[in-house]
């Protein structure tokens, strides 16, 4: 293992991403907005920086950024969740009351579904939760294995006035999503049909199901349906630890859903992903406060368990993102950090520069460990024309992939170009985030958005992949990217959030004041113009629980 020292490990803690004060965290649970507060619950191990002894951690904020930790919301104190209080979802009923459905791992490690609700609905902090005396309300149905039945969704209304939920599972190697109707969240009727099933995808965890508008940029409440609505099915693939989604149509009459494009159905390797980096067990909720749908994602570590134990914590949550259907393409979602993140922006610097082929330009922004970067790139037209008109330039778009084409050091005609973050002066450690434009056999250009972590750290007990994917670029659009740098996490948003990449990096030299920002153009022929703004980011000062902090929050 690498000889981590406290200075390196201390630097890895983030300034404005949600994380507990110590120990292990994973899935987001039951996120909701209630009586003026955003509530975030999460899978938490109060005893160690590794997975186990899972209970529900809890925090509140007024803006999804400045959090206050609260006492544990639910602990493993019943036979039906004694082996873990696992993931669940909240449903806000028309009268404003809340029901929480969650998976319990029983004393015999069977996965069952349980109902809980706030002890005091008048407490905006929802500090205390009551578990229904009749739990469990759902057990694995015939044909479903005891460990293949978990993570119930938020409920939505059917045309018959019932509530409907879906729960991921599998039959043999086919990933499925079971559907149940209820009127009181205590007794359920299983539908004969499945919401959806995809062969050879394995167990579906943390299924999410929600409507998106084909026309409106606002989010939709979970029960909304209609001709201008598409429905998203998202599932976390137990086998690959990747979140996949697909856009499709929901049929209320029999509780089924079909994808618009079966070739990119949920869970197959080519299907769409919220994020091409580390982003798992994600869950959305409808924020009735601002009419938007918010996406939370668990960002696990890329280092070793030993390093996590040494630093005393493990995992982050991504910055909450708004998620809507891309009304320009109609085929994919777009995600964007919630607006409230801008409240952390401090000083900023604007840059406009022409970057010739083979350039690496240091960008003077002071310490570069907490940054928000918004950038536009344009390849000079003559460079493009020259490439497209030059038959000797190999058409490589069909073969190119971020993962397997050598990363940011392999030069092509029209790329790679972008930023290198968390780089030390000598560039001995760096994390490039870049575009690569490739010519296709059809002589059309195809753009890829990538993050190369292969040289992000000298440490040898860290996973350092190259992440990324193709990013849709419509005619006339400039290439845009946004990057949030926050110590050991880097979030990239390509083309307004059509393609997102979250990376975990653990530099050993490019830390504290030695962390720098560079702009680079590794293309062979293309000259690129770059217009960008860099903000220094403040800390979110996420607070441990105390009465006066909560009072301050209330003010």
């Amino acid at each position: 293992a690498f000889a981590w020292n406290n200075s390196m490990l201390s630097w890895q803690r983030t300034a404005f991403h949600f994380q507990p004060e110590q120990n292990w965290m994973n899935d987001p649970n039951g996120p909701l907005f209630y009586k003026g507060y955003y509530h975030f619950f999460y899978q938490y191990n109060p005893n160690a920086a590794v997975w186990g002894d899972i209970v529900w951690g809890h925090a509140v904020s007024k803006d999804l950024i400045h959090w206050v930790h609260l006492p544990l919301a639910m602990v493993a104190d019943q036979w039906y969740d004694s082996n873990g209080v696992w993931t669940g979802s909240a449903t806000i009923l028309p009268d404003g009351s809340i029901v929480m459905l969650y998976t319990g791992s029983t004393d015999k490690s069977v996965q069952v579904q349980n109902l809980a609700y706030p002890e005091d609905p008048n407490d905006p902090l929802l500090l205390k939760w009551v578990k229904f005396s009749g739990n469990p309300v759902l057990v694995p149905p015939p044909g479903i294995l005891p460990k293949d039945f978990r993570d119930p969704t938020t409920a939505w209304k059917t045309s018959e006035g019932k509530w409907r939920i879906t729960i991921g599972s599998k039959i043999n190697r086919t990933g499925i999503s079971l559907v149940y109707d209820t009127t009181d969240f205590k007794t359920y009727e299983r539908l004969d049909t499945l919401l959806h099933a995809v062969p050879n995808t394995g167990m579906w965890e943390c299924v999410d199901f929600y409507p998106v508008s084909k026309t409106d940029v606002n989010g939709l409440e979970t029960s909304v349906n209609g001709p201008d609505v598409k429905h998203i099915v998202k599932a976390s693939m137990d086998d690959t630890r990747i979140d996949h989604y697909a856009v499709g149509t929901y049929f209320d009459s029999n509780g089924t859903w079909i994808p618009d494009d079966p070739t990119i159905d949920v869970g197959i390797s080519t299907s769409l992903r919220y994020d091409y980096g580390k982003f798992y067990a994600s869950k959305t909720f409808y924020d009735q406060n601002k009419s938007r749908r918010i996406l939370w994602g668990w960002i696990s570590e890329s280092d070793s368990e030993a390093a996590d134990v040494q630093k005393g914590w493990s995992s982050l949550q991504g910055i909450p993102r708004t998620v809507v259907l891309d009304t320009k393409t109609g085929k994919n979602l777009v995600q964007w950090p919630v607006e409230e993140i801008k409240s952390l922006r401090l000083s900023s610097k604007k840059f406009d520069m022409e970057v010739s082929p083979g350039s690496m330009i240091p960008i003077d922004v002071g310490s570069a460990a907490q940054l928000d970067i918004e950038a536009e790139f344009e390849i000079k037209k003559e460079s493009i024309d020259k490439i497209l008109g030059n038959a000797s330039v190999v058409a490589e778009a069909e073969e190119f992939s971020c993962q397997n084409s050598g990363g940011s050091t392999v030069r092509g005609a029209l790329g790679p170009f972008g930023f290198s973050v968390l780089a030390d002066e000598k560039l001995s450690e760096q994390t490039p985030i870049y575009f690569y434009v490739a010519k296709g056999k059809d002589s059309k250009l195809k753009t890829f958005f990538c993050t190369d972590t292969s040289r992000s750290s000298f440490a040898n007990d860290v996973i350092k992949p190259i992440y990324g994917s193709v990013v849709p670029v419509l005619k006339g659009e400039k290439l845009t990217m946004r990057i949030l740098v926050d110590h050991s996490i880097v979030e990239g948003f390509g083309q307004g959030g059509r393609t997102c990449i979250t990376s975990r990096v653990y530099p050993t030299k490019a830390i504290y004041g030695a962390a720098k920002l560079f702009l680079f153009n590794n293309a062979i022929d293309a000259t690129v113009t770059a217009s960008f703004t860099v903000w220094q980011m403040n800390s979110a000062f996420i607070h441990p629980y105390s009465e006066d902090v909560v009072r301050a929050l209330s003010r």
């Binding site: 994973n26 791992s105 490690s109 996965q111 976390s236 630890r241 890329s302 070793s304 992949p465």
Partner: protein, 104 residues
Amino acid sequence: MASSDALLPISAREEDPLLSDGSRSDPNLETHFRRRPVKGLLAVSFGLLFIAFYVALIATHDGSRSKDAIIDETATSTSRARLAGVSEKSNDQLWKLSGDRNTA
């Protein structure tokens, strides 16, 4: 890995302080002499005990075992999360299975 002889002199050193604590001028020389055979016996049995302990230590936790052996053994072991019935939560399994630090 600690060398085995690092363990032995401790018991001997424990004996030295006693011997060097001016007990030679002890008026009860006789008791002192009678104690000496007992002490010698103790030292020998301590030493034997340590050797036995150390042999046991080597037998059960040989630190020099090749990495592959560790990897082989644990590569097939299932992590806590998988045993409990949820998706893998640790990277360590990845490395042990793939042996390559850079692949996710």
